[in-house]
Amino acid sequence: MAGAAKNEPGRVDWRLAAPLGFTYLAFFAAPLLILLAMSFAADDRFASFSMDSWVKFWGDPFYRGVVYDTVRLGMVAVLATSALSYPIALLFIASGPLVRKLLIFIILLPLLTSVVIRTFAWIVILAREGVVNQTLLALGLTSAPLNLLQTELGLVIALTQIEMPLMLLPLVTVMQQINPSLSDASRALGGSKWRTFFRVILPLSLPGWIAGATLVFASATTAFISQTVIGGARLVYLPSLIWQQSMVVFDWPFAAVASVTLLVAVLSGVMLFSLLGRFARTT
């Protein structure tokens, strides 16, 4: 601030930005460049330039399937968290300060208690002797315990809870800024509650939804622990492929190709969501 006061307002004080800037150049930008270079290397000593790893990755339908499954998992997580987050956000804006505070606590608590613990909780819930199976058996809805671990359904259920706070926080933030008289006006003009939701609240909450969808998509596609522990060895997504290729097989160029692919896939998803927002605003 000592420098900022001297600068005319509106200018970035580069001396104060430099420490974080250089930290990022040295420990963030440089590693990512090396990752990109490694994906074009013949081996992990950069002996020569080679496209082999890219050809091997994209030429194999198995690996293309892994990319598709990873992106689809992220999209399904976005849809599921959206469906469950809007009702909570509506409850939030309809509530008084005390309930609001309680809801924020309920949203923050799982967010702050480690992805590993949340994943562990879902093992207890989805296992053969777990909560879901005990309940279904007791109600007589099934005669044999269902196998929910190591299935995509189980993984999606778990990821929905694990990622929901990331959708809820921006959604709640934006929705409490919506002027309530807009909904009142829609109701007074004879709009049903459904119509008011879809024509007034949903469009106005879009910026929050886009921020939430971006975070959920980025997080669900890279949720290594949840994917390996709940998905198991049979379901392969890009994160477990990256880990296996780099730390078990030690094929660094190939792992780098998978990592760059994951990076591009996540950034494409992020850009898609922001384009969607721009498109929705103009129509």
């Binding site: 509106g10 992805v115 613990i117 933030t173």
Partner: protein
């Protein structure tokens, strides 16, 4: 006032109310189930627990049988503390650097400072491993600190920048016209106003470092084992009930920290702003 479509309105209330109840149950349920499971008397993970016992907590606190968990916790706390302390300095300075700027250069810089939150951590973790090993560094806990610093700095940057936008620059001008030096004005005016933002950001950053998997997965080794990686290993192999006890300790610690942080910084208000 009468409305048409009362059946439709009722269906709205039923559907939204039902979904809201379900969502709250899904959010809170797993946390409660883990807490209850940690007091089980059984050697396997069943729910509901067949009986009550604190043997898993006794096992967890036993320095001989759980020594590897204790050292993983010590590593995690050390890395989180140093990385958070460094991040507070560099991220607060960066937030101050662009607080009153609305130019394209400031917005571009802001986006690049926030980018580690969106870029997949796993890609970065592998990139950091390649970076340190190509430079010829031997594995060290300092690499973990550097990697965590990059990943957690955005949390402090964001909350500090948010508290600076509510800051009235006229305060600085009047203090200057009253003869205050710039450093004095920073210490007596700017710092007190942005401190809650810095503290809230530091709390989130510390928690993010303690929970970090993607960077630790690649940069930690047998000597510098980190708690989440150790817990992942336990889940993949034996599914030891001690994981439930570790979870119980962490959940209670987070709960206490959240209440304290809310008193100190208005954390709940800050998170929904």
């Amino acid at each position: 006032m009468t409305h048409r479509n009362t059946i439709s309105d009722q269906s709205y209330s039923v559907v939204m109310g039902g979904l809201a109840t379900l969502s709250v149950a899904i959010l809170v349920g797993p946390v409660i189930i883990v807490l209850l499971t940690s007091f089980t008397s059984s050697r396997v993970l069943t729910f509901p627990p067949p009986g009550f016992s604190i043997e898993w907590y006794r096992d967890l606190f036993d320095p001989v049988r759980s020594g590897h968990i204790h050292s993983a916790l010590a590593n995690s706390v050390w890395v989180a503390a140093i990385a958070t302390a460094l991040a507070v300095v560099v991220a607060t300075a960066a937030a101050l650097a662009m607080a009153r700027s609305n130019r394209a250069s400031a917005r571009a810089l802001e986006a690049s400072f926030m980018s580690p939150l969106i870029l997949p951590g796993l890609s970065y973790g592998l990139a950091a491993l390649m970076f340190f090993s190509i430079l010829g560094f031997r594995p060290s806990i300092n690499h973990l600190i550097a990697g965590h610093l990059v990943v957690i700095a955005p949390f402090i940057f964001r909350t500090t920048l948010a508290s600076l936008t509510q800051f009235n620059p006229a305060l600085l001008e009047s203090s200057a016209s009253l003869g205050a030096g710039r450093l004095y004005a920073f210490r007596r005016i700017t710092l007190p106003i942005i401190t809650p933002g810095i503290v809230a950001g530091a709390f989130l950053a510390f928690v993010a470092s303690m929970d970090n998997v993607p960077v630790s997965l690649f940069l930690s080794n047998a000597r510098t084992n980190m708690l989440p990686i150790r817990m992942w290993g336990m889940m993949e192999t034996t599914l030891d009930v001690r994981i439930a006890a570790i979870s119980g300790v962490i959940i209670v610690a987070v709960l206490v920290a959240m209440v304290v942080m809310d008193r100190l910084t208005g954390l709940t208000r800050r998170m929904s702003m």
